[in-house]
Amino acid sequence: MDDIRGMVLLLPGLQLLIDVLRESGWTVRGPTVRDGVVVHAEIESVDQLPAGVGDLQDGASYRLRERGDGAVFGYVVGPQGWKSLLFPSRELLWSGHRTGTEVDVEPADVDAPRLALLGVRSCDLHALEIHDTVLAKRAVPDAAYLSRRENTFIIAVTCSDPGGTCFCVSMGTGPVPDKDFDLTLTELVDQEGHRFLVQPGSDRGEHVLDELMTRAVGDEVLNAARTDRCAAALVGSKAAQRMGRSLDTDGLRDLLYANAEHPRWDDVASRCLACTNCTLVCPTCFCTSVEDVSDLSGTQTERWRVWDSCFTNDFSYLHGGSVRPSVRSRYRQWATHKLASWVDQFGTSGCVGCGRCITWCPAAIDITAEVGAIRSGEG
């Protein structure tokens, strides 16, 4: 670890980081509290960050709490992943104009702002990596995603206080960011004070650190001491021991493939509302549909791509009816895709263990419990 460059930022140093990024043309998106939840918004000042805010998460339950320590990354994850920024819920694909029998089709311009994402957890970092595979590293990639992804600067943060629905350790996706970031932060709040160990993960990150050193006028940016590194390492290892949930992934793909007719799917179906919340909060769900919108005269047409969910009846519609008319088969599709067929399709699980689908399910359906029941043979 000593050979990796590291610095310590005090809170004014974090502000300096934001300033440096903004001056380099990055729009900084980071966490803030709105309507009782931590969401991401444009951040200009550290004052907007959720200072001293923690959260309590469980099945169908999310409450903010006062931590009393001023930590700005002391919450876990809110309902939003970062996917809405890179893979918007509505996106214009093209617009068409009809004149007589002639039609002109104009591809939509891609809006790809330079975004610096501040406070990306390891689970969400892995979700981004999964989306890179699913959306960009394909025979025909999602060009808009690719453009936006290339215009993204990532400041990851080590999870210090995992929530009641977290299981990233089971999925091998956290809690310490290990790759694919430009900078990574570990927030330290102890007798030495409130500070952030910052380490680079890319050349772009290195340059930003250089800039920070140059710009620092007082002690807002310090060279990291061995004690800071040790304290930071401890943050991650302690967090790893405090997962609220766990999921046994051993042989999971084959287990789910072999249990397509397990009675547990009927049991889930009796509780599932097919509300689509889990797919909307899931940072890896990528299914979309297209909608044609035209004016009354039919001369102006737009085709929009919109997020869709495998929990709707229409999702699998063929002429005559749906392939999956029952909620049983739709939940099975979602869970089996996420944990099993995703492996065949993309080489990794589609689940990063962020726990959002558990927290935000109004019926408190817990994918770790459902899979656990199938593994143990419960009905």
């Binding site: 694909l93 093209w94 068409g96 009809r98 029998t101 002639e102 039609v103 089709v105 591809p107 939509a108 311009d109 891609v110 960009a136 590293k137 394909r138 025979a139 025909v140 990639p141 999602d142 060009a143 808009a144 690719l146 453009s147 992804r149 290339e150 493939y257 397509a260 007719e261 990528f286 299914c287 979309t288 549909s289 297209v290 044609d292 035209s294 039919g298 047409t301 085709r303 791509r305 869709d308 495998c310 999702f315 699998s316 519609y317 063929l318 002429h319 005559g320 392939v323 999956r324 008319p325 029952s326 049983r328 088969s329 599709q333 089996t336 895709h337 099993a340 067929s341 065949d344 399709q345």
Partner: protein
């Protein structure tokens, strides 16, 4: 970090933007099925292989996957044989000669009928399933000497629903054993009445080496595949064309997933051996 592959066609919106094709001619095949003959407005013909489909747009209405029914690698209009069953196909049905439609693609796997070279080829069609098989049949007939016996087993609902009836006679004249059956006969119908699978036992082909291409409703393909295997075909020599809700054609929208398969990418044409374990699972 991610980079665009060199030379990759990367419009904003990418593969989701249709090309424009003009309706040059139109043929009403049956009461609810018609064939569109389409010419590209930019003059660049669509290259495809038999069995592939395109996403056809009726502007302002939407987009549907339709298999190509014209021969591949042959000059002439792009043909799509469409059944008027929903809002988009209904809009396509009302398209006038000279009108423009959108085409994306072609997408998906093909029949790869050349794998049947040196052996007998059996095509089994149910209903409009004959349309996606037509390019494969025409491919076989263009290279007739490469193949052994060629058999078409074709079942439809009623005699009025038979597609390409003139062509069936032409194929028969070219030495194809064409066996036709209908589910419901009419008083004037003197042909066979019965399920298409009953033709499998009586058709002349060598099951030990034959390649079978099956296209029709999924239940029909299931029973057909079982009957072919019962006659002695290997499950990996039986190919089926699956039907799922396809919205993008490039495996990005997720709708057509069939457990681990993206039917638009991994299919629509798949060896029966590949799907035999999935096809019997309800609502998969």
């Amino acid at each position: 970090m991610l980079r665009q592959a060199e030379g990759r066609h990367m419009l904003p919106g990418g593969a989701m933007v249709p090309r424009l094709f003009r309706l040059a001619d139109r043929r009403q095949d049956t009461a609810d099925t018609f064939t569109m003959m389409l010419e590209p407005t930019d003059g660049v013909p669509l290259e495809f292989i038999p069995g592939q489909f395109t996403m056809m747009s009726a502007f302002g209405i939407g987009e549907v996957p339709i298999s190509v029914s014209s021969p591949a690698k042959v000059e002439g209009p792009l043909q799509h044989t469409v059944r008027d069953v929903g809002s988009v196909t209904h809009a396509l049905a009302r398209t006038q000669i000279g009108d423009v439609v959108g085409i994306r693609g072609p997408y998906g796997t093909g029949w790869d009928v050349e794998d049947g070279a040196g052996a007998d080829v059996v095509l089994v069609a149910g209903g409009i399933g004959l349309a996606p098989l037509r390019p494969a049949m025409l491919d076989v007939l263009r290279h007739r000497q490469r193949y052994g016996r060629v058999v078409l087993l074709y079942g439809t609902r009623t005699p009025e629903d038979l597609l390409f009836t003139d062509e069936l006679k032409r194929w028969e004249n070219l030495g194809v054993e064409v066996l036709v059956t209908v589910d419901y006969g009419t008083p004037s119908w003197t042909g066979r009445v019965g399920l298409v699978t009953t033709l499998i036992a009586r058709a002349g082909f060598d099951p030990r080496s034959a390649l079978a291409l099956v296209c029709g409703p999924e239940v029909m393909m299931r029973f057909t595949a079982m009957a072919l295997i019962k006659r002695g075909l290997s499950p990996d020599r039986v190919r089926v064309s699956l039907e799922r809700n396809m919205r993008c054609g490039v495996g990005l929208c997720g709708h057509c997933q069939y457990r681990e398969l993206f039917v638009c990418l991994d299919g629509p044409v798949l060896p029966y051996a590949r799907v035999a374990g999935l096809i019997g699972v309800r609502e998969l």
